[in-house]
Amino acid sequence: MAAVIEVSRLSRADLESALAEHSLTLKPDEARRVAELLGRDPTLTELTLFDTMWSEHCSYKSSRAHLARHLPTEGPDVVLGPVEDAGIVRLGEADGRRWCLVMSHESHNHPSQVLPFEGAATGIGGIVRDVYCMGAEVVGVLDPLRFGDPRGEHADRSREIMAGVVDGIWHYANALGVPNLGGDLVFHPGYDDNCLVNVVAVGLVPEEEIIRSRVPAEARAEPYDFILVGKPTDESGFGGAAFASVILDEEEENRGAVQVPDPFLKRVLSEANKAVLALARRGGAAIGFKDLGAGGIACVSSELAEAGGFGMRVDLDRVAVSDPALPDRVIACSETQERYGLAVPRRLTPRVLAIYNEEYDLPHVYPGACARVAGEVTNDGRYTLTRGGAVLCDAPVAVVTKGIRYEREAAPAARDLPDPPPALDRDLGADLLALLADPNLCDRRYLYQHYDGEVQGNACLRPGEADAGVLAPFAGSPLGLAVTCDGNPWYGARDPYRGAALAVCEAVRNLACVGAWPLALTDCLNYGNPEKPGPFGAFAEGVRGIGDACRGIGRLAEDDQAPAPRHPIPVISGNVSFYNESARGAAIPPSPIVALAGRVPDISVVPGLQLKAAGDPVYLLGARRAELGGGAWHRVCRGSEGGAVPEPDFARVRTESLAVIRAVQAGWVRAAHDVGEGGLATAAAEMLLGRRGEPARGLDLDATGGDGGGGLPPASLLFSETGGFLVELAPAADDAFAELCRALGVACLRLGAVTAAPRLVLRAGGAVLVDLDAGELAAAWQGALPRLFPAGEETPDGAREVADA
């Protein structure tokens, strides 16, 4: 046995300093608990392993009880809920196969704050591995991004981080050959010290080809090897999971905990992995496959073994390393990128190694990269790690992977901001222009153009063309896939429960606009320090909000259209990110971010959000209420975050979405857009502008009665953020649509029509509230974002800098 740390003998103070000396984040009580579980004092490698396994990032020690209590994870379409790195649901049949959708969702917040380029790039790198290791092809990624105020006190830092993150995302995803399907971009001063970089990956796999991250049962009958493949292990990312689970403090010191990205090697590995999986299928051999993430080799090998009910012996002498002088625990636990672990039957081992090392020639393609047998599966249920004859870890697998739990105190959220005084006699046209030019509502095209949205050739609706990204990934079938993501920090800050529930509501509406049945949800729950009752209370409320919304709206599908939900929308994967808080004690606004994927039965009828033909009628679904709280108009035009946050009305989301989904699928809808942030006026302007900001059509709408007779003042009518839809119909579908809405009990109101003149006219109560030329709208909307990037910055004389890459 290697030397041990005598945790059971040391005084609390000495133990604390011993832990700190080794840069471990374990608390003294936790270190003693490790000794208790082992029945002896732990080695340094064992302590390091537990440090990772028991980090908040890996163990969910604070969050798990709440997640289990509130989130529905099962349903008729679910193949695999949140037990492994990615969740799986059935998508549908195409090209004679039963296809499943694989989805994973994570945060890479702390690394991106410290090293924006590397942090964001390895965020993409990690999330796609989670999907690849289920045997799937990754068909897209989404990136919900949150940055500090680009015009505030820390504007320079926030903008520098944004530019670095965007560069990191495109460098990685474009090189890997995975298209961007969307995401969102939000600026809020609450992210000045903690940006959020969430990443979502979506993949496809035929149901019979799903691979699990566990040693298969067949290992009882024949010997299995543990193969490690990819980049040589180095010290990069050592302590990364623990780093994600503390408050960002001395940023400079933590940079070593950020991993180093390599999309090129990842691409070659993905091709080689495909060949290995095909070999296993042909040979009828079951294998286990898992990516290396937090905790590196020690975690991947022990978890593969534990999930299958086996033991594992790993010999670190057999691991390819960048430097033989690396300490034991670094080889065991560093988070070097671009590595996978496989459990394969020994009879296949030579051929698997040949695919990696000869056919795909890893050692020549990338210095030091290779596949090697690093250990073997055992039947004794023990986890053993050795190096140079010394035993670094020897314990029952179940002890190594056994988690830890905390019951945290949750304080109720209380933040009551008053309504600002009523606004009379405002120029609502000027207000709309101000909203469109706000960094949070302006055109995102400048950003999307950094990302490759077309690679793989499946793009159907690209980011900005519709409320959800849509792919047509099957050559011989009109079956499509839609994805969106949502989360509004102003709602979260005002009301953590509603903020979370509204994110789900908006995601469902986004999918409805492209006629997609919502299949499965993933979430990333970004909050402050869980050891404080305030942030932890907001987390608990957020989880409850997501769960209630998933049950309240419920599954919608061909066979599930009753007014009352029969099944929830399942949450199939997710991540909790705590400690998004600066050393100054400023926590981010509660920021639950959800991603929702859906099934598009026929991509040929899916409309984008841009207006199509003059004369087409335009309808509003969702009567306006006085719900301006936390909204864009209050914030941008009136300098207030007060007022009532929209009330999530699950039944209405369900029936209105059902009406829109069925209308789209019937081919009646020429354009559809959800009404949300910025209200009816903003949604109308966005439909006019489209993805390319080249309006060909105009709109003339009369919002009278759009409040269901509620007597709302004009500003509320135009800017209230009550959820809803604006829908452009083919003229012949007018009556059928009205009949569909009546049958579903959905109030729909014809507001006006698309016009040939490119102008936006909004009226109510006999008055013209907004009358703007489309060119003026486009100029306001398009100019704002480029100016926030270094290359697009205004120079003092007002001319744009011409930059050379």
């Binding site: 560069d167 495109w170 474009n174 090189a175 890997l176 050959g177 390599d262 999309p263 090129f264 691409r267 070659v268 091709e271 056919e359 795909y360 020639d361 393609v365 400048y446 999307y448 153009q449 950094h450 990302y451 490759d452 949205g453 077309e454 690679v455 793989q456 050739g457 793009a459 159907c460 690209r462 063309e465 047509a472 050559a475 011989g476 009109p478 026929d602 991509i603 040929s604 009828v605 409309p607 984008g608 841009q610 199509k612 081919g667 489209g690 993805r691 390319r692 080249e694 060909a696 480029p786 990037f789 270094p790 290359a791 697009g792 744009r800 800098e801 011409v802 930059a803 050379d804 890459a805």
Partner: protein, 282 residues
């Protein structure tokens, strides 16, 4: 008379490319039998193919310069022999960078690297740039694209280093006079781009695709394989292809039919078939 066998296409997979599958699919839809060939397979295998495609991506992670390392691979020497025999060769995006780095294009004798694909020049932007563009096919060209003379083909581009340039003054004018500037960025009506953003990277003469003097090797930056099906065309793209796309609303069989990029692959496969027929006849 028995039906002529389909021309055989090899899509060459260097480590790090990422457009090989959709490129092979587009070639197959245009009538070829397409295989993906790993870079380190026996170079002698190339002789069995009638046409070659170097797909987009980031071969060897753009080490040194985009395309520079792949251009030194053994398989490129074998490919040079096949090209010299007149077989059609197409390099798309990173594939175009490889062809330029390896000197296939423009292929003037006795000089090294006449051409380069340099970092984009874009007012107010830097780095990678991805959008749809319109390409105009030259009105007189030795390329197999000649059968599409003066046509306007919309398709997406996606690159950080796509600016056709040269240190040799007047080279592009010479190439254009010889019909070797086969594809130029244009507007939706086909007028050659006068500046950014229609010319998205600052290429000389708005060049998007350049061929060798014989016309059988073409290096192009935009991606025809991402416009091979009508369903890939954005619904509000200006010009006749956007209109076609909107007209096909609700009709899956039309959406899975040919898009603007298909004509390019069909021209290439057709040229390969014609060449083989001519060789077989002699």
């Amino acid at each position: 008379m028995p039906e002529a066998p389909r021309p055989r296409a090899a899509v060459i997979q260097f480590p790090g490319v990422n457009c090989e599958y959709e490129s092979a699919r587009a070639l197959a839809a245009a009538g070829a039998e397409a295989d993906i060939l790993r870079w380190n397979e026996d170079p002698a295998r190339l002789a069995g193919y009638d046409l070659f495609l170097l797909p987009g991506g980031f071969s060897y992670q753009d080490r040194v310069r985009a395309g520079a390392v792949a251009a030194k691979e053994d398989i490129l020497e074998a490919l040079a022999d096949e090209a010299a025999a007149g077989k059609p060769v197409l390099g798309i995006c990173n594939g175009a960078q490889v062809l330029v780095e390896a000197g296939f294009v423009p292929g003037l004798r006795g000089e090294d690297l006449e051409l380069a694909l340099a970092p984009n020049r874009m007012p107010g932007r830097r780095g990678y740039f991805s959008e749809w563009c319109h390409l105009r096919v030259a009105d007189s060209t030795p390329s197999w694209l000649g059968i599409l003379s003066e046509r306007v083909l919309p398709m997406p581009f996606a690159h950080g280093e796509g600016r056709f340039t040269s240190r040799r003054p007047g080279l592009f004018e010479e190439l254009a006079a010889a019909g070797q500037v086969v594809l130029r960025y244009a507007d939706a009506e086909g007028a050659v781009a006068a500046g950014w953003p229609e010319n998205p990277n600052g290429s000389e003469l708005a060049a998007a695709g350049v061929c060798n003097a014989a016309g059988n090797v073409l290096a192009m930056m935009p991606h025809p394989e991402r416009a091979a099906w009508l369903g890939q065309v954005p619904e509000l793209l200006p010009g006749p292809w956007g209109w076609k796309r909107r007209r096909a609303f609700g009709e899956w069989p039309r959406l899975k039919g040919p898009g603007p990029g298909h004509a390019l692959f069909a021209a290439m496969v057709g040229a390969a078939a014609a060449r083989r027929e001519a060789v077989d006849a002699t």
